[in-house]
């Protein structure tokens, strides 16, 4: 009977003494170097060569293969730098590991962070802004698609360089369209047209559902940018730190209503969005749907899967993302490369050299051809590789055209948000509740925006803003 109190007391005594006595080595702090200095030429002068650097990326399948090929070429092309690729499965788990590394663990020398991690990269004070090396190296950004550089600029400082760039496109099955009496060369361009096409597909019993919804909040962000609506306040967070989510507007409600309507009338299936989910694409393969919106980044993989002959029923078509019309354009999706400022000078320089290599027009052409990503160098599009690709497989051009046709304004610059994932979690929860639990589109959008705002407020209070 006496065991319990004594036991607890003993535990408490031990706990208190230990927390006082056990002093662990303080976490190696990441020092903030405002602006940072680019250690140009340090790799070439390094004592032991090659300077070995680690690059954490999240490229899968064909994308990884192509990246590996380019990296092998780079390693073979010079003797100063040797790059070791580490595949971290997805952007999400990559960023988890990176944050863990900031606490004193392992960090790479070059890191690929998703577009959404921009504000975090800034707040973590752990990256050497690309602007520093651009300046020191007198590196010209003229040949880059201007919007891709603008996207990674916050308060006038360029932090990372875009690699890779993608945006959402409509994938549809031409064979199914034909069977349903739809013109396979005239894919739907508006949300209404998607619905009409879905109705025809279902009515003709060509596919179980017409449209497969990948429930990724990314598409809501894209749709709103297309409509020219900023996602958060303060110039989408670029003029100064965002304090409020501003997507509780008529456009968002209209989009949400459209999704709900599609599901409720049996014209769409929600395939959810766990990590690495390709169920929406498999749904097309299995004739459960004939249309879906997904990243142009999936193109390389789709082409190779279809090439395997497993889905003879599918001829894939690619079209610009249908959506609301307005003064806007799709966002610069994808990820960027950041030089980690905790690494030694030699390694920082090595990372810069490698980064430059990947972004050369020639490598960009190879990259775009192998993966379906958008080449970020305008001159790359004139190369024979790209010209040939675009003429034989025109769908590789869709995402590029879509990107360069967009206007350059606050909305299309894209939101910069600290707790981006948390804001997205709120959106996905509310949209799921709307699609599965009968919540109305209006109240779903409203509470998603509220959740977003409170996530932003909480985050800001924790960074001392």
């Amino acid at each position: 009977m006496t065991s319990r109190p004594r036991c607890v007391a003993a535990a408490a005594v031990v706990a208190v003494t230990l927390s006082a006595v056990v002093t662990l080595p303080a976490a190696a702090r990441v020092r903030h170097q405002p602006g940072g200095k680019c250690p140009l030429g340090a790799a070439a002068k390094a004592k032991s060569k090659p300077v070995r650097i680690t690059f954490w990326h999240a490229m899968q399948r064909e994308n990884e293969t192509t990246l590996q090929r380019l990296t092998d070429q780079f390693n073979a092309s010079q003797r100063d730098v040797e790059v070791n690729l580490v595949n971290q499965v997805s952007y999400e788990s990559l960023f988890d590991k990176y944050k863990a590394g900031l606490g004193g663990g392992e960090l790479p020398d070059l890191v690929q962070l998703e577009d959404t991690s921009l504000q975090s990269a800034v707040d973590s004070q752990s990256v050497l802004p690309a602007a520093a090396c651009v300046k020191a190296d007198k590196y010209s950004l003229k040949d880059f698609i201007p919007r891709t550089v603008a996207y990674y600029t916050v308060k006038g400082t360029l932090y990372g360089l875009p690699f890779p760039v993608s945006n959402p496109v409509l994938y549809y099955n031409k064979q199914a369209f034909e069977k349903a009496g739809l013109d396979p060369e005239k894919p739907p361009r508006t949300l209404d047209e998607v619905k009409q096409a879905a109705q025809k597909l279902v009515d003709a019993k060509v596919t179980t559902k017409g449209y497969a919804i990948k429930l990724d909040p990314w598409y809501l962000e894209q749709w709103l940018a297309k409509a020219g609506k900023p996602y958060v306040n303060n110039g989408n967070g670029r003029r100064s730190r965002a304090t409020k989510a501003t997507f509780d507007n008529a456009t968002a409600v209209e989009i949400a209503k459209w999704l709900k309507d599609l599901v409720d009338s049996g014209l769409a299936v929600n395939t959810g969005k766990p990590e690495g989910n390709v169920d929406n694409l498999l749904a097309i393969g299995n004739d459960n749907a004939a249309m879906t919106i997904d990243s142009s980044a999936a193109l390389g993989t789709i082409v190779s899967i279809l090439g395997s002959g497993q889905f003879p029923n599918v001829t894939i078509g690619v079209a610009p993302m249908p959506g609301p019309v307005g003064k806007g354009g799709v966002l610069v999706g994808g990820a960027a490369l950041y030089i980690v400022s905790k690494s030694s000078r030699e390694k920082q320089d090595a990372a810069w050299q490698y980064m430059k290599y990947l972004l050369e027009p020639e490598q960009q052409a190879t990259w775009a051809a192998g993966t379906g990503y958008i080449p970020v160098r305008e001159s790359a599009t004139e190369s024979s590789t790209i010209q040939q690709l675009w003429s034989t497989q025109p769908f590789f051009k869709v995402a590029y055209d879509q990107l360069v046709s967009g206007v350059n304004n606050v909305a299309t610059a894209g939101p910069v948000i600290g707790p981006y994932q948390q804001v997205r979690d709120g959106v996905i929860d509310e949209l799921t509740a709307m699609l599965t639990q009968g919540k109305s589109a209006k109240s779903a959008v409203k509470s998603a925006a509220q959740k977003g705002t409170s996530a932003i407020e909480e985050y800001n209070s924790r960074v001392g803003a």
Binding site: L18, H32, V269, N288, T436, V463
Partner: protein
């Protein structure tokens, strides 16, 4: 797994353990003490650094608003943060989901274990093979079991999806109505082997003459089950329930692999919520509050277990 039960019994034995003779000289005694401390030291260091220190740390962190990245200052906020968390919908939801998960998995798991053990507890040719099969899921890890079910429940190519007639529909793992059930079924299956083994061992400890007596009295098999097996096995059943409950409260792998806490937080149990607070929201302060709550929940079960064991020890005397 069976930690606390064994501990408590060990404690009982400690009370009755014979003292070594005290005719030793003083020098010898202090030498013995030194040896004892040296032997205890390795375990003690591990416990200090990886059990007590982090445990105490939770209580400290619960009082601070912590920065999302290392290197920034943390702010003392007293009990504000604890209040905020306790009153938040997300926290209350996680507690509720955790308890629901226990209710879905433990009673059924224990009952199935008992049922199978009873069925396999007879002298039949080849019964050993059946016993091996019934305990076979012990050899599947949480990750293996979860990935098996994850692929079988895939909405496009999963076999179970086909059998359930849900092809082309929303995945059971994405549907708020079914997600927790799917996670629970996976868990019950994975733990079935363990449940079966524990129950079988309990059955073997029941003296055969009790059944003989019941049979002579003409009790039917069903009657023997309820009148002899269940009462004689009640300590084991109780033990399995409590230990199963603790395991349910600690569940993580199946959530991460099957649903990642979704849809609409319907499977966001406490441990997963802690994981997300730390690795997604970078909020160690809030995570500490969740962790303390988890500790208290598990402790309630531990106390029930201790209470029960105390009473049983009394009866035994």
């Amino acid at each position: 797994m069976t930690d606390t039960g064994a501990a408590e019994r060990a404690l009982d034995l400690a009370e009755s353990a014979p003292e070594p003779e005290s005719r030793r000289r003083l020098g010898r005694r202090s030498k013995e003490a030194l040896l004892a401390y040296a032997l205890l030291l390795p375990a003690f260091v591990v416990f200090g650094v990886f059990v007590f220190y982090p445990f105490a740390r939770n209580f400290e962190y619960a009082l601070y608003r912590t920065p999302p990245f290392p290197g920034l200052p943390k702010t003392y906020v007293g009990f504000d943060q604890i209040g905020d968390v306790l009153s938040s919908h997300d926290f209350q939801n996680s507690v509720w989901v955790t308890i629901l998960f226990l209710l879905y998995t433990v009673p059924i798991g224990v009952f199935l274990g008992l049922f199978l053990a009873n069925l396999a507890h007879q002298k039949l040719k080849g019964i050993r093979a059946y016993r091996t099969i019934f305990s076979s899921t012990v050899a599947t890890s949480v990750a293996a079991a979860s990935v098996i079910f994850f692929t079988l429940l895939n909405p496009q190519v999963g076999l179970f999806t086909y059998w359930l007639g849900r092809e082309g529909e929303i995945s059971v793992l994405q549907d708020p109505k079914t997600a927790l059930i799917a996670v629970s079924v996976t868990t019950i299956w994975q733990n079935l082997g363990l449940s079966f083994i524990v129950m079988s061992a309990g059955l073997q400890a029941i003296p055969d003459d009790l059944y003989e007596a019941a049979r002579v009295d003409g009790a039917s098999a069903t009657r023997r089950f309820w009148r002899v097996t269940v009462p004689m096995l009640s300590p084991t059943i109780f033990f399995a329930t409590v230990v199963g409950g603790i395991l349910a409260f600690r569940a993580f792998g199946q959530i991460d692999l099957l649903t990642e806490g979704g849809p609409v937080q319907k499977t966001n149990v406490l441990v997963y919520a802690i994981y997300r607070q730390v690795f997604r929201n970078n909020n160690d302060g809030v995570a500490a509050v969740y962790a303390i709550a988890l500790f208290l929940l598990v402790m309630m079960l531990t106390f029930i277990q201790m209470r029960f064991l105390e009473r049983r020890v009394t009866y035994a005397r």
